[in-house]
Symmetry: C2
Subunit: 822 residues, 2 copies
């Protein structure tokens, strides 16, 4: 490679930057010391364990350098989302060249010592990971589990009308389902009021050990694919057969100029401006973008540009090692020269490789980036590594309405009925009204099904594809986003949250398992970000899981799975919360709380069906504040002292968590109250599941004394639980009374049947709970009359099933049950 | 709709079949009695709860009827995979018309009583679900959780060279990630030796409450999309604006004839035959298919046909109800007439709707399908509902080689080292050699990374896209399938297993969470299929999870997650197994066992790194047979009687499960043996995790007596566990000694660091385990010399970390540790 001068933001400067970033990338993978090769590489300069990935990095550096040129020349803020795995050293290299890295990590200065630390820390114990991660300035996308970059990019672009989110998609990543579902996310992106996403598919041809699909299909097919996804692809291919990189720079610069130009035109067209993002968006249908593209696009959705960049994997690295072709093959994926510590020849190749970037041109004598790089370095927050969208946390808290005007007015009775999500939806609509550009609702075609339609009084769903006169609640500027992909909804919400905004994801309970792994990765992000001093707070990710396991009346077994809660509680206690509000007002209080929290994942499970509105709003608020509590009005514990459960000791405790289990528990307590009036039963409802854990295990956990006061130390506890019973044992096994806790919950028995038959099938019904109490209170079963009672309740269970199997619905003695409180 | 005669397999017969299936579909949704409308509909004829989905059904029936014509006329066996959700009533209706339903469910005969039961049972307590499900004849795809139909179809087509798998993809489903990743699965489908998949995208325009994306994009874009996915799309649109269905039948028949004709040509071309599937496939590159398509396809992958069928949602149903347009909108999704029981006008509309199909033509006086339908009914197993591929279970057991020749010959020592997956891979290669058309290995680009390369000595990866001279282990007839999509790999394997074959999925442990929900649904399928009398055994789904939580040296936190095991144990005990083989020979014995099982999901976790080969093959086999056992050679329990752990009582038990925890546990026991020679420590290794559960909870569970003999009733048990500690508590909380079980495992602390630092970070290292013993054996901490030992071990932990942070690798006193057994 020839030496070049680079005084301006020209392509020579771009090449200089690229070489500097490549040099720093290789240095991070290999070197513990001697960062500027001031002396010939010695074995002791080399890390003992070479744990990094070269293959994708030169492409990432190439894109970074080119985007810098565009930003400097056009002044358009750009966020860089790095999709390929293991791109960490590239992103860190560029952040260091930007100056951001040294600002955020002062021990990694822009000097010799900083360079040394920069290289040493990478993939090193106590150092930084090999992926773009929370530790990486400017990043909102972890490069470990692949597939989420493009959905993160689309989430980031929402409500950021002046922002371009450049998203490098790896060709490996492009094979994943979530990524494949993301291409059409532009259906929800308003050219008038949102930013732009510029996907850059990087075809370097190989994954870990395989070629990639998109790199091996005919180019004509590739172009059809992206046109078929609604984009206008711009193809840049180069670097093969020893092509001079300057030629590739020219093509890439032209493609980026074309792409940014089109984005400018699309914005201008949609906004009736010159694209400065200042003017108000026109209402209604915007004409499709002008330009060369003859293919029609629907009413409002322009044909956005995207770039296909095809370069060799491991470009500029060793071409052949030990007789094996490395550059341009999967052999370049990780560490092309594996034996550099022991093998003098490999070490010499490494040195030659690093010197091919001309380090003397790249850094000055003090180890600072060469002055020639300066013209390519945007200023302040315009640097992609310093983008306030990525690094600055939550823009502002939500303006939350008080809940009382939206609450069910129970009038002090316990006999009203309400649909929890319906009640919540009116408050949610007001949240969306008050926060017109910082809150979004996401759902996989389930917003209406989960009874949240009231939000459509405030805003429709976003939809840039064709409209039909029969459409309901669809519009160009809608703030609800729905596609039938839990992945896409989760990913766009993550991108929205990670760039400082707020939102809610609603899903059927069973199908949130689809994003278990995305939840895991987001929770890990939040866990890790907590350790990064400059990362700011972000709004919590809140799930409203409705249409839950107990009310899948017309769906059956495939829709019956409460196991997401088990996945959630595995994560660090600081980060995860699980709420099971038992009624409408409690759901309101729970959501108002969740929307005010930061840096957490809140899983809230609440049904959409009509059911008991047990608590007034004040009671509900107090209950959520406490997280759990004794409902003395539902029990039969004479002598119970409000606020001091330890002052009396009941014969048995019926605990419950979840709306359907709570109903069954209350009904069971009533059965016992009516038929065994002298039995002292305490009813405990748990809304914040983590209260059950030991205070040493979870910040919301109860102390042992608090727990014992409520659950006693020796009385039978029948626990009616929404999910799998083992979860309650997992949370309570350290409690003194654990051996007496008998949990009823979902035991993987399900089908299409009536609501009561479902709880019956899983031994969670009121009769079974009441029987559990009779069987477990010592000596009770032998008392006079109890045997008859047992027989009676057993026969009612059988009767209920027989009735349902004959009539197709639950019998009146179940459905017409009404609470008669104390 | 006009009445028509239909004596032959003409389009009139197709229409007759379609009307019959539509009639039966509506009847299932609404009627409890009066199935043939022999008297005017009365309220009591109507189900009290209307729980079904009409919208998708007429399209499914339309496709079914048309496929019947092709099967009858061409004699090509065809499997029908029903992708859209809630297609149950349609699939059941067709199976009943086929006669299959009555053969498999004699109480649902082809007579009046059978018709009555057919309608009554649907979405009714004690009845059948509203989706295509295990209860549905001919089905291999549950219609509950959407997204997996096309991958199931591709899995079913593998190694079935004469089979066409017609896969109806819903346009809702098409928005999911897994479905989006499936289109390119033809890259793995050999036209020479596999069958064909014929995707039929059913654009009915709407999901639950939203339009679908693919129905609203310009048609030109849709065509580009499918060409870009490598297909030649055939478009059939009809049924709008009161179009005569006969015109649509004509277009659909032409499209299907075209599609089957192309498939015939593709097969013939690839096989050098007339497409009868008899001739041997030619080796090497097959020429691209001939035909009208001018677009080039790569060497071996033909341009397969696919059909886009655009018809109104709820076609032939009520057009307008209460002033709202229903047909052709999302209002047709579920039950178009909601008030038929109470509302006379609605009930009259229902009757009119049902009579519009002319039931007198469809059924005879005894309630049998009209004779005119006979020409459209294929014979025996050619009926799609009776396809042996779907209904007949496992074709044959695997021919499994004995393990001994592949085992590590430990020579009785405990000091050898081996990579477990490497050892296993040679045996696996032999399995693949012996079962050349009934076993497949699937991996998300991780077969080589998980060290299973030995299989490539037997067979390459399947790859129909372009080949490059530098490619390794890629070929047209390969039996390993790799794409970077856990979804696609899981789904194709499911399709392969559900059609009677065998396979293995290998994945990084953390990323198997990506398919949590697919695992759930497959486990639910197996659970439900168990209750269906005519469903045969299928081979177990086995996961080999390698590159696990403890050895993510260069990947870090995002790759560290052992929580899949928690998801697995939530499913029914009959179905799930978890194995944590501690070394190479134990992995061999475990996999040989798993490959011989049926109707289960086996999750096997085993590392790929070099580590202790503790057991000889005979010992390993005995250990796997027992599921867990005392390793007296690793403990220090004088007086221990082999085979009778209850005969002595140790001071403490160190239990372990998982390869890395086992190494640390053995090292801890050795530290104690060396430094506290009189302490009696028992080492227990658990390979079959479900042994820990109560025998009443799991078929592999130990009785309490067995458990107590091994784990004692009162001695401290330090349990070194591979996964999250709570899982061990969840499994053992019923055990007498549970309060003394102290679990060390992954506590969500991770980063890029050395192997020893990872166990240290999570308090699972040998020093910490030994300290746990010292702290928990009563009175031990106060004994002479113990305080010094405690200090020593604490300082070694600190030293190890300091060394790693300075040198980048673990210190010699950790890495050079060697077992010195008794």
């Amino acid at each position: 490679m020839a030496r070049r001068q680079a005084p301006e933001a020209t392509l020579d400067t771009v090449d200089l930057w690229w070489r500097a970033a490549n040099y720093l990338t290789v240095g991070q993978i290999y070197l513990m010391r001697n960062p500027l090769l001031r002396h010939p590489l010695a074995p002791a300069d080399i890390k003992p364990r070479l744990l990094g990935h070269w293959g994708t990095s030169p492409g990432l550096n190439f894109v970074y350098a080119h985007l810098n040129r565009v930003i400097v020349q056009r002044g358009i803020p750009t966020l860089y989302v790095c999709g390929p795995g293991h791109g960490g050293p590239a992103m860190v290299a560029n952040a260091w060249l930007d100056g951001t890295y040294s600002e955020l990590f002062p021990k990694v200065g822009q000097d010799l010592e900083g360079l040394h630390e920069l290289m040493r820390q990478f993939s090193f114990p106590g150092g930084i990971p090999s992926h773009a991660a929370p530790e990486t300035p400017g990043s909102i996308n972890e490069g470990g589990e692949l597939g989420y970059s493009l959905m993160h990019a689309y989430g980031a672009a929402l409500d950021n009308p002046g922002l371009v989110v450049a998203c490098v998609v790896g060709d490996g990543e492009a094979e994943t389902g979530p990524l494949a579902a993301s291409w059409r996310a532009h259906a929800f992106l308003s050219p008038a009021t949102d930013g732009a996403v510029l996907p850059i598919l990087h075809l370097n041809g190989y994954k870990i050990a395989n070629p990639t699909l998109l790199a091996r299909i005919p180019e004509e097919e590739l172009v059809q694919f992206f046109r078929g996804q609604g984009y206008e692809p711009l193809l840049v291919t180069g670097g093969f057969d020893d092509e001079d990189p300057m030629r590739v720079h020219e093509r890439m610069a032209a493609a980026l100029d074309e792409a940014y130009g089109r984005i400018h035109d699309i914005w201008a067209d949609a906004r009736g401006t010159n694209g400065d993002g200042e003017a108000d968006a026109p209402e209604g249908d915007a004409a499709p973008t002008a330009g060369e593209d003859a293919t029609s696009a629907p009413d409002a959705r322009p044909r956005w540009p995207m770039i296909v960049l095809r370069t060799p994997k491991g470009w500029t690295g060793p071409k052949v090692v030990d007789g094996v072709q490395v550059e341009g093959t999967f052999h370049a994926h990780q560490v092309p020269l594996a034996g550099v510590r022991e093998d003098d020849a490999h070490r010499a190749m490494l040195e030659e490789w690093m010197r091919s970037y001309w380090p003397e041109e790249l850094f000055d004598l003090e180890g600072r980036p060469a002055p020639g790089l300066a013209p390519l370095r945007p200023v302040g927050g315009m640097r992609m590594s310093a983008s306030p969208h990525a690094n600055s946390g939550m823009a502002e808290p939500l303006d939350l309405p008080v809940t009382t005007p939206f609450a069910v007015d129970t009038g002090g009775a316990r006999t009203m009925r309400a649909g929890a999500t319906t009640v919540f939806s009116h408050w949610l609509a007001e949240v969306m009204r008050r926060n017109p550009s910082t809150f979004r609702l996401f759902g996989p075609d389930e917003v209406a099904s989960n009874r949240l339609q009231a939000v459509f009084d405030v805003t429709p769903r976003a939809w840039m594809e064709a409209l039909d006169p029969a459409d309901e609640h669809l519009g160009r500027e809608g703030r609800v986003i729905e596609a039938l992909s839990e992945h896409l909804m989760q990913g766009m919400l993550e991108g929205y949250l990670l760039t400082g905004r707020h939102g809610l994801l609603t899903s059927y309970e069973a199908f949130i398992h689809i994003v278990d792994s995305m939840f895991n990765q987001h929770a890990k992000w939040v866990e890790s970000a907590h350790e990064v001093p400059w990362r700011q707070d972000i709004a919590s990710l809140t799930y409203l899981l409705s249409s839950h396991v107990w009310r899948q009346d017309h769906n059956g077994f495939s829709h019956q799975d409460p196991g997401f809660l088990n996945v959630v509680v595995n994560k660090q206690a600081d980060v995860v919360r699980v709420y099971l509000p038992p009624d409408a007002n409690t759901l309101l209080a729970t959501m108002a709380h969740c929307f005010g929290t930061t840096n957490r994942v809140n899983a809230v499970v609440a049904g959409k069906q009509l059911q008991g509105a047990w608590l007034s709003m004040d009671e509900a608020q107090a209950h959520v504040d406490a997280g759990l509590g004794v409902w003395d009005w539902a029990g039969s514990e004479l002598g119970y002292v409000a606020g001091d459960p330890g002052a009396s000791v009941p014969d048995a405790v019926i605990a419950c968590a979840g709306d359907v289990p709570t109903t069954e528990a209350i009904a069971a307590a009533q059965l016992l109250r009516e038929r065994m009036p002298r039995l002292r039963v305490r009813l405990v409802n748990v809304v914040d599941l983590m209260r059950l854990q030991d205070a040493r295990e979870h910040p919301h956990g109860l102390s042992h004394a608090e727990f014992d006061a409520i659950f006693t130390t020796d009385r039978p506890v029948i626990f009616a639980f929404h999910g799998y019973p083992a979860l309650i044992h997992q949370l309570t096994y350290r409690r003194m009374n654990h051996a007496n806790i008998h949990v009823r919950g979902f035991k993987e028995r399900g089908t299409t049947t009536t609501p009561f038959d479902m709880v019956h099938l899983n031994d969670l019904d009121r009769f079974r709970l009441a029987l559990d109490v009779l069987e477990r209170v010592p000596g009770l079963a032998e008392r006079d009359g109890v045997a008859g009672l047992v027989e009676d309740w057993h026969s009612q269970r059988l009767e209920a099933r027989a009735y349902a199997y004959e009539h197709g619905e639950d019998p009146p003695f179940v459905t017409e049950w009404e609470f008669s409180g104390r």
